[in-house]
Amino acid sequence: MVRCIISAGDLTVFVGVSLQQRSDGEEPSGQGEHRASPARPPFGKKQLPSIPKNTAPVTKPPSPASAAQSANGTHASYGPFYLEYSLLAEFTLVIKQKLPGIYVQPSYRSALMWFGVIFIRHGLYQDGVFKFTVYIPDNYPDGDCPRVVFDIPVFHPLVDPVSGELDVRRAFTKWRRNHNHIWQVLMYARTVFYKINTMEPLNPEAAVLYDKDVQLFKSKVVDSVKLCNSHLFDQPKIDDPYAISFSPWNPTIHEEAKERMFTHKRRPEDHHKGLQVTGLSWVKPGSTQPFSKEDSSLQT
């Protein structure tokens, strides 16, 4: 029930929207399907992220007054809310960006962990479908930049061949609140597959090959993509109800879901009509006069 956890439920919907917006034939259709979100458990199941050390979201050095406040605990007790909403705000920003081929979904258990998948549509990594996890530091937005770890280490100069972690820090040497946003990290994660950079690689082998023997690099990439795609239907690496999982196309399940996705577009309006919450306006667009609409009396 608890509202501070709003994230989970709402986000699912949001992801649904973004998936649907993108799935107009672009993807090998119905490649993946979300697991249905589990019913919201009673309050308390989900843990709030642990309290960061310094939660008072004060941009400037705290004034004496607010320092006093922090001392008496007012701030600290709302800290989790600030963090939660900051992350929610980040997530809505991601939605807004409509990053091509990237889908993310915060984990069920922690708002600080997001699951994602990226579809590469052209270039060397074409047809690659890479699942990843974003880890956000708990003192966000005042800590380091979020980490991006691929489920399977993709053969790429900037991806650690063992841990699968993408070198994000090189793009965000210092994480600056208000300037840096998580969508930028996701954007970056996409870019690296289109523009290969071999400077200071985490995977020196890949870097050397790319510079010295592109053909071999290419074939290694193809193998890597194949490997990744062959594990597509594996169970999610992290056991979480909101983890992204793929399953082979099954008309009995997916056809209906697909249908729903496409009809979802129309739903919100119908939805609104049912709720009967409509505002009133007789203001002519471009005017600030009340009752300036020509046909204002004819409004029904």
């Binding site: 979201p57 004034s63 306006s281 667009p285």
Partner: protein, 984 residues
């Protein structure tokens, strides 16, 4: 008699008996019966030789009732009852007969038509004495036929004609005559039934028209007969209204009907003037049950038959407007505006005594809540927003009354809560947005920031940081464990308030406790979750509602540049002149009232008329408005204002005031308020708790001045002007001002100029400087102050260039024309009352915070950022919600220092409030018929001790703390919801 027939008419046995019978047999029986009847009929027919009864009709005429009988001697009873018996059987046969092949008439019906049976029977009843019983009998006969016949009968003139004759016979008795209630009821029932037939089969309609044309007047008889019952109370009235509604719905599709009703009937005038009539029988003064009372709830008005009747008629108007043809709708709206709102409501809103005015305000609020049809709401709203009474907009008058002490202020607040809850762009525009559109209230550099999102909940944190130290969760753990559920929601106490709907899907708190300890022993305030939930539903509801608005109000659209006050003078006026507007719809009627030219004046120039509002911003007691500022106006004020004026002068004796200062009642109210406000300072504090509080304080302003004065002295007044524990700087500036008031003329101006210079603001507005010094200076503000180019806010045009508009009521005194930042009278009066939270009664505070919270849910960036963005840098002269709250916090901190037992008092107050809350929940569950609240009944918790209601400062403190959470929650939810891309 026929009555017995009707009584049995519905019995299934009758029809089953007939079901098996062969139609031919039925026909034979029918014919036999008729033959018997005819025998008797002819025996008494004086015109027998002439033949058919048709030509006889003219002679008999309508209402010539008993003549025939008298002329030819009484008809023997046995013959009458014999006819009765035959007819009874015949009718059953007719009713039960089914259509013939391919919709042809059944044989009996054909016979009825050929033989003109119905008409002859009607004549027969006329020939006998046409008594009420006879009418009843005939009406019931038709009612039964119309309602139960298995084939369409009304298509046939020989059936329809006598029916129409019967109806017109009933109508000619006229409404004045003493028609027996039973006949009326039966008549309305029949009419209703006919309307049902019409609704189902509009092809009959034409026949009704034609038939009546035969009678000379093009008359839609059914309709005309119903009109006298429009405002009737009880079941008859209801049935008549239902029947009329059927016709209204018919009119939407049938132009003939619509045209007829609009042009040939008095339907609309009767309806609208009926409202006026019913209104006049409403009590002019309401019995106020308690000080808490602020609006008419269902349980209030259900006890007032006159009000119930009015609401029925209003509801009917609403329904008519909903279903009727546009021509009827527009006509009705015009009549309601010009025949009810302007001539009745407007004067009623300007009555002489506070009580009467308060009562009218409460009625207006109730009406607004009762009306649902947008077009009718529009009519009411354009009355409130645009109509001027004695040259003052109704809206301005209403706004000014928020500041009035006594219950009028509270009731006015409730009215505005209703208005704001409509999500109406026009209302919001007039109340607030038009003042914010130019973006003059904020620093120029800040405009770009308007739409930025507060990603890290900075504003929420700032609001919460205002939590007084005595209320910090460490000292008073927010959730009180003794309660099952702790829900703070102001909507609770107004069970009929529309926002209640949001409550039903409120989450249930599980029983695990009310505070969760997260990490290292930090309390998480669970009640905050509820605030977040409410904020979310409130904001999403508002966002959805505002989708129909014309503009986003985001600092770009409408463009601030185009609405600068200086340019508005030039640009706005011609533009408005070219606008062809027609609110409200005028009736198509000769006495079409001249449209109010004032209405066409553009929005911003209204600023000019709002000088009086300066007093709102005067937090601390401001002695009196400066004579310099309010220039005498040449216009002679209306009588009631003069009356009020006299009394107000009496009230404020001791202080010299130009009589010309009383430009309108607005001014007078403020003066009264000021007077009241300044009293507590001079009077012993003990008076505060005196029982005189409860007295009927708002008795009369116009008589017994001494009485009034005495009461004013005794009341702890919360009117936005009271002084209380202000900061040191504040007091300084206040005292300097107080001396100012004793100065005269130039000396005073010099003082002002001095002040203005020190504040670094362009000269030109004494009042502004005035506001300036009284503004409590908050630490935040100083810290955030930026260098601003003030010249950019100055007008290009010198004052002399301004051409006075012929439409402006008052000469310009030049206080606000210069684009001096001003967020409008409504916002200032709300904020100034909010600043006095600690003196306000609990109820006023609930209303105030409720209104502000609802305003805060509006997604329009200029409004949202003004209320919620604590980092926006505003113009120095503009007070923000945050600043006002900071000032309240300071008051509380001071209070907490001076009162040792303050913390305990707070705990007690919390308990009292929670008990109140839970008892309201309880009431709510019982009283509301909608048991689907989704809420389990709460046990009514009795607190150990109840804090007396007059400890307003303690309650105010608790509420303040909760309000901060509410605002923070709204701010947080905005960071997510308002930025979600809307469905494209």
């Amino acid at each position: 008699m026929m009555a017995s027939v009707v009584a049995r008419g519905n019995q299934a046995s009758q029809s089953t008996v007939l079901q098996g019978v062969d139609p031919e047999t039925c026909m034979i029986v029918f014919k036999n019966h008729w033959a018997q009847v005819v025998k008797i009929l002819e025996k008494h027919d004086p015109l027998r030789s002439v033949g058919g009864g048709v030509s006889a009709l003219g002679g008999l005429g309508v209402g010539g009732g008993g003549l025939g009988g008298l002329r030819f001697g009484p008809i023997p009873g046995d013959e009458a009852s014999a006819v009765q018996n035959y007819v009874e059987h015949m009718l059953f046969l007719l009713m039960e007969e089914k259509c013939g092949q391919a919709g042809a008439m059944g044989p009996i019906l054909e016979f009825v038509v050929m033989e003109n049976v119905m008409e002859r029977l009607f004549l027969w009843s006329l020939r006998r004495e046409f008594t009420d019983d006879m009418k009843l009998e005939q009406l019931k006969m038709y009612e039964m036929l119309v309602g139960q016949a298995r084939q369409p009968l009304l298509h046939h003139k020989p059936v329809l004609r006598p029916l129409m004759m019967l109806l017109s016979a009933c109508s000619s008795d006229g409404p004045a005559s003493s028609t027996a209630p039973a006949v009326e009821a039966e008549l309305v029932l029949l009419l209703h039934q006919l309307c049902c037939v019409l609704a189902k089969d509009p092809s009959v309609l034409e026949l009704f028209f034609h038939t009546s044309e035969d009678q000379g007047a093009a008359n839609f008889l059914i309709f005309s007969l119903l009109i006298p019952f429009i405002h009737r109370e009880g079941a008859v009235g209801q049935q008549a209204r239902d029947a009329l509604l059927l016709i209204m719905a018919l009119s939407a599709e049938n132009h003939v009907v619509a045209k007829h009703i609009a042009e040939n009937t008095y339907f609309c005038p009767v309806l609208a003037t009926g409202l006026s009539g019913l209104y006049s029988s409403l009590p002019t003064k309401l019995e106020v049950r308690s000080e808490e009372w602020h609006c008419l709830h269902r349980e209030d008005w259900q006890q007032m038959p006159a009000l119930v009747q009015f609401l029925n008629s209003l509801e009917f108007c609403n329904a008519v407007i909903q279903v009727a043809h546009p021509s009827i709708r527009d006509q009705l709206l015009g009549y309601i505006y010009n025949g009810f709102l302007v001539p009745v409501m407007a004067p009623a809103l300007h009555k002489l005594t506070l009580e009467e005015v308060m009562t009218t305000t409460a009625y207006l609020d109730l009406f607004l809540r009762s009306v649902s049809e947008p077009a009718l709401l529009q009519t009411f709203l354009s009355f409130i927003l645009l109509h001027r009474h004695d040259n003052v907009h109704i809206l301005d008058t209403l706004v000014s009354r928020i500041n009035v002490p006594f219950q009028l202020g509270t009731v006015s607040l409730a009215l505005f809560r209703t208005l704001i809850g409509l999500y109406c762009e026009d209302v919001m525009l007039q109340l607030i947005l038009r003042y914010l559109i130019p973006c003059n209230h904020m620093m120029l550099s800040q405009r770009a920031v308007l739409r930025e999102r507060d990603c890290y909940s900075v504003s929420a944190a700032k609001f919460l940081s205002l939590t007084p130290s005595c209320c910090s969760p460490d000292i008073i753990p927010p959730p009180l464990r003794q309660l099952d559920e702790v829900v703070w929601s102001k909507t609770v106490d107004d069970d009929d308030y529309k926002a209640m709907e949001t409550e039903k899907d409120c989450p249930q708190v599980d029983n695990s406790g009310h505070s969760c300890v997260i990490g290292s022993e930090i309390y998480m305030d669970v009640s905050y979750l509820h605030y977040l939930y409410d904020a979310r539903s409130g904001i999403s509801k508002c966002i959805r509602a505002c989708q129909v608005w014309s503009a986003p109000y985001d600092g770009e659209t409408p463009p601030p540049e185009e609405y600068q006050p200086s340019t508005l003078e030039e640009v706005g006026r011609p533009r408005a002149a070219t606008l062809s507007r027609k609110p409200p719809p005028q009736p198509h009627h000769p006495q079409k009232p001249r449209p109010d030219p004032q209405r066409d004046s553009p929005a911003a120039p209204n600023l000019l008329e709002l000088e009086w509002d300066d007093s709102y911003d005067a937090g601390p007691a401001q002695p009196l408005p400066e004579p310099e500022v309010t220039q005498p106006i040449p216009v002679e004020p209306p009588k009631h204002i003069q009356e009020l004026r006299k009394n107000a002068i009496m009230l404020i004796k001791g202080a010299y005031i130009e009589e010309s200062d009383f430009q309108n009642d607005v001014m007078v109210y403020n003066l009264v308020a000021q007077k009241d406000a300044s009293d507590p300072i001079e009077l012993p504090k003990a008076a505060k708790t005196s029982s005189a509080d409860k007295q009927t304080n708002s008795d009369v302003l116009s008589d017994s001045n001494s009485h009034q004065l005495g009461q004013a002295n005794n009341r702890p007044i919360s009117n936005g002007l009271t002084s209380r524990s202000h900061s040191a700087e504040d007091d300084e500036s206040k005292s300097s001002l107080q001396t100012d008031s004793n100065l005269e003329g130039e000396e005073l101006m010099a003082q002002y100029e001095e002040l203005i210079r020190t504040l670094g603001v362009e000269a030109g507005s004494p009042m502004k400087a005035d506001r300036e010094c009284q503004r409590p200076i908050s630490p935040m503000e100083e810290e955030e102050e930026e260098e601003v180019d003030f010249t950019s806010f100055c007008p290009e045009t010198p004052e002399g260039d301004k051409i006075p508009s012929p439409y402006t009521a008052k000469p310009r005194s030049g206080s606000r024309i210069h684009g001096i930042p001003f967020t409008g009278p409504f916002v200032s009066v709300l904020l100034s009352r909010l600043e006095n939270m600690l003196d306000n009664s609990l109820h006023v505070n609930l209303l105030l915070t409720g209104i502000l919270a609802q305003l805060a849910t509006y997604p329009q960036p200029i409004l949202r950022s003004f209320l919620l963005n604590t980092t926006t840098v505003l113009q120095p002269s503009v007070r923000s919600l945050y600043q006002v709250l900071a000032s309240v916090k300071n008051q509380i901190e001071q209070l907490a220092v001076t009162r040792r037992d303050f913390t305990e008092l707070l705990t007690t107050a919390q308990h009292s409030l929670l008990a109140r809350e839970s008892s309201l929940w309880g009431q709510d569950c019982h009283s509301q018929e909608s048991g689907d609240k989704g809420r389990t009944k709460q046990p009514v918790v009795q607190p150990k001790t109840i804090l007396p209601a007059n400890r307003t400062e303690v309650y105010g403190t608790v509420l303040f703390t909760e309000f901060l959470k509410e605002l923070a929650a709204i701010a947080q939810e905005h960071t997510i919801l308002s930025h979600l891309p809307m469905e494209e």
